[in-house]
Amino acid sequence: MRMNGRNVFVIGTGLTKFGEFYDRDSTSLATEALNAAINDAKIDRSSIKSAYFGSMTSNSSPHSVFSSKCLRECNMSIPYTRVEAGNASGAAAFHQAYISLASGIYDCVAVIGSEKLSDFVKNGTIEKILGSTIDYQWEYEIGATLTSLYALITKAHMREFHTTMEQLASVPVKNHKNGKENPHAQFRREIPLDRFLSAKRISDPIGRFDLATHCDGSSALILVSEEYLERNSEIKNKIPILSSEHSTDVLALHHRESLTQIKSTVTAAKKAFAKVGIEPTDIAVAEVHDAFPISEILAIEDLGFFEKGEGGNATEAGLTQLNNKISINPSGGLKARGDPFGATGIAQIVEIVEQLRGRADKRQVSEIEYGLTHNIMGTGVLAYVNIFGQEEMKQ
């Protein structure tokens, strides 16, 4: 018996530009991304038998309708599921789609992530939406926001490991440098270190420029089983999903023993590496959740790329820059690409798949064997880790 289920592959990717699109709604963005993914896969859309949508809040209207409208506009009449896992909704939808193929229920499915956050122009609305990714009752309603909880985490890391403001700011500096080369990124310009350090603090020590922006965007993937590929041998550019794992931690920070480790990331990564039988050092390129500078530092430590406490040092020393020790967030990450919650987890996978296919242009990482994605909800109540390999590899 195969304990891990059937082999699953990504054969098509689609991505809209991320940013503020006041003239477009969720349906329009999702339709563009899904059509792009179908065209990229070069398959007949009738072979897609189910769709998984990742979205936290879509439009300011009732939530699930854009999925149905998107499928209608794509001329597809198939069952769909909308998955919500806060700002990790995209990775959660991908994971469900992966399970549906690995289990043998479907042979070809679409995954679409979409979010339309520029509708929420009133002050405090996004803070309230993000309040549902943390303990709404005993953190958010007491006065905490997601940003303020990350401020507590940042201060804890600074206190415990002597991480400096310069080290923290070197995360978004690097990601904006990468984002400059990504045509889908919201911000395609470099921002100097001083700008991050001198910006107004919104929750000490987190400054105005440190957050990933909450924007609009959509991303899509076409996933198929190995059996589907055997029947359709003309399909090229297939990237195997070597593992797709998720894990959890308690919701509230005040219930955690340590603020400087995201336990869900550690356990999801351990499971993912064990399944593939590789070490963190085998990963050449990773897209990690950098909603705040400390998020990327915690991610590269908790995923095992660097020792605990060394993330700040490593980033400042340039070890996570393009084609250095490990290329972290070549797309520009959440910070430069922008963060439309449900679209983010899938956009990360799009980037890694394009990197493995060698189609990432000026941000191409050389000699990749394995690539990894990491998406979390809130302060890490859920973490999703996926590992992808080269075309000829199998699970």
Binding site: D135, E141, I142, G143, A252, H254
Partner: protein, 129 residues
Amino acid sequence: MEPPKIWREKRQKYLALGISCKKCGKRSFPLSEYCPYCGTNDVEEYRLAETGKILYFTNVSMTSDEMAFNAPYCLGIIELNDGIKVTGQIIDCDYKDLRKGMEVKMVFRILARDGHEGLIKYGFKFTSM
């Protein structure tokens, strides 16, 4: 704000309640019907200690509309003297004067208000001793 939710939660929010498990003897926060450590429902209400010390703290300037009247404000994780940890605002102080380990006591205050004529939500905050 949602009146039924405020009504439902007012007792535990106003009194700062947790539970004490009669089976394993452990205390936990917040109020729940089952013990998160051993799973039994043989639990009784427990009122949290009213004093404690600051473990972590920051300040908040961008917040939801309902709490904006109060911003900027200080926020921290407090370890109460019974060992239970809670998140809370720290008031009547300057952010620059806060220190890790500073002793604080629980007070009853307005947490959020729905405009000038809407509902008011109350709960605990902390002030220095």
